[in-house]
Amino acid sequence: MAEMDPQHTKWVMVIDLDRCNGCGACVTACAMENNVAFTGEEENAYGRGMHWLRIVRYWVGEWPNVQVRFMPMLCQQCSNAPCEPVCPVFATMHSEAQELNIQVYNRCIGTRYCANNCPYIARTFNWFDYEWPEPLNFHLNPDVTVRRRGIMEKCTFCIQRIRAAEEEARMEGRPVRDGEVQPACAQACPTEAIVFGNWQDPNSKVRELAESQRGFRFLEELGTEPKVIYLSSQKHEF
């Protein structure tokens, strides 16, 4: 594809697991950008953290050769998303224009079926109305809905940023430039492990990275066609 089609973009994220050091900046950045609620110790101990993005950590091997693997896990924005068709009210749907898996918060009635059907466990649910005691609510991002209780939520690839960049580009009559849109996680990432871009742009960074030999998509065999491409970590063995 020589020309970028402004009507049709395919947003892709590449996560280089060899660069990722698990520091957690993405987790916090995501929460701050997307008005993700904090739930406190008891709720988290009971598996009710609201993290849209979590860093899955595995132990590999036995002492003293034990090793750690970090893998940031978020909504994979599947092309064939299992969460979408099961929603009775189209609260989660596929955007043809963005090729994204959209969650429409105000449409959600909270059946939580999508979350059950997500092989990546990428969805979180608003178990309660969470509070941001004043003035903590001042930092809530006006571009992102504050979800109330009973609503499913998940990573959106920071669609508000995509929308803003696209609108700006449209007003200026040009395509969105590579690197112009950065979700909060990619923006914060100190090791540049997370790269975001448009697959349709043949010169984009993601395109170049994704074609790496190390590239794989998580649980690819399920046919979900995720749009997060991981680059595997290959540790040197002594």
């Binding site: 009710r48 953290g49 299992p82 009775p88 009210v89 449409r107 979180t124 499913m152």
Partner: protein, 476 residues
Amino acid sequence: MQETTLPAELHERVEELREEHLLLDPRPREEMNRMVLEAMEDVNREYIIVMTILGLVTAVTLFGAWGYLMSKGLGLAGIRRPIYWGLFIVSFVFWIGISHAGTFVSAILRVFKAEFRRPFTRAAELMTTFALAGAGLYPLIHLGRTWRFYWMIPYPNQRWLWPNFRSPLVWDFLAINTYLLGSTMYLFLPLIPDLAMARDKSKGWRKVLYTILSFGWRGTEEEWRHLQKAIQIFAWAIIPVMFSVHTIVSWDFAVAMKLGWHSTIFGPYFIVGAILSGISAVGFILYMIRISVKNMRYFIRPEHFDALGKLLLIISMGWAYFFFNEFLLEWYGGEHTVQEILRYYTTGDMAPVWWTMVICNILIPWLVLWNKNWRRKPWVMALMGIIVNIGMYAERYVIVVGALSRNRIPFDWGWYKPSLVEISIALGTFTLFFFLYGLASRLIPLIPVWEVEEGHHAHGLKRIGKGVVKTVAELE
């Protein structure tokens, strides 16, 4: 009935048969009417106390807890990431299962002309309706935003949005509504002549009520013709609807990309399970009616429990067959997560529940129900009803909660602990069920008198040589 032609030496045998079979033991219609009406009007102190307690408990444990849940959020339930469905869905599937009782008894047994069904078709159909009423609450209770449930209904609206007909939940919604409406109508149609009877025989507010409800039924030839035709159509049509309901409920799980759920056998497995729990619940309810409602010992006899017991045994075997099918295939496969799920079921934290299921659904029924004497004891069948339903509740718990606890990312496995609110609501539906049933037992004739009388007409005795046997004339 032509017993006058029977020789006197067979008298004893005839008496025996008569005692055994309701349909060989006719009483005048007036008397049966009186018995049924007496049972309905028997609003004594114990009844009022029990109903008050049931009503209050339901109001608090079900509706109170539900209101609290809605006002605070679903976090009050024990569900969590990744076990997004818990006791609510377990109870939902359970009650949908119970609801198969009435249809099975009054449709399948009617189609196959199993005559023993006659006195308790209504009792079973009432179970269907009330179980569905309970079951129907759960999809609402379990919604994060119950107040938006109507978005699942297809109706033109300012949003220009329709429900997603590709979602199993919409299938569910359609199927449950079809089934609820269908089974309620199916309950109501044969009830009309009995309501007309009650209209003729009662006074005061009851008369007003039955006058409205009986729609001016007179029992003319046309009315009977249309009614019988309709009942026939319903009996045939409601069977596939019933099958579809529990199949679709099973598809809620089976279509999901979830190991432990994604199984082709879930449809029939769920149906058999539903009938198993439904039939056993009928046994329990009949026992309750027999001991607590006036004059019911005449209508509900050991023969009925015996017949139910035999059915139960067969269905338990059917269930075991499907269960084994499902288990074996998963056991044989090599999937890590499935292996872990099975390990979790059989020896892991879920083992107590899983083994309860196996013992209650297979072991105990098989040990008990082969014995005719035990089958004929109402309390044994009542006990079986409780045991099998505990087993079936456990089965749903294992399927819903167990499978959700394990997924393809071990980092995100989970464990689940039902919360007080959840348990309260789950118990609340039981009290709601019994409350509604208790209410119905005093408001509508529990026994379809005209059907029993018809049965009396149809049944007779025939002497063959020195013996005497029951005969049935095909009236329908």
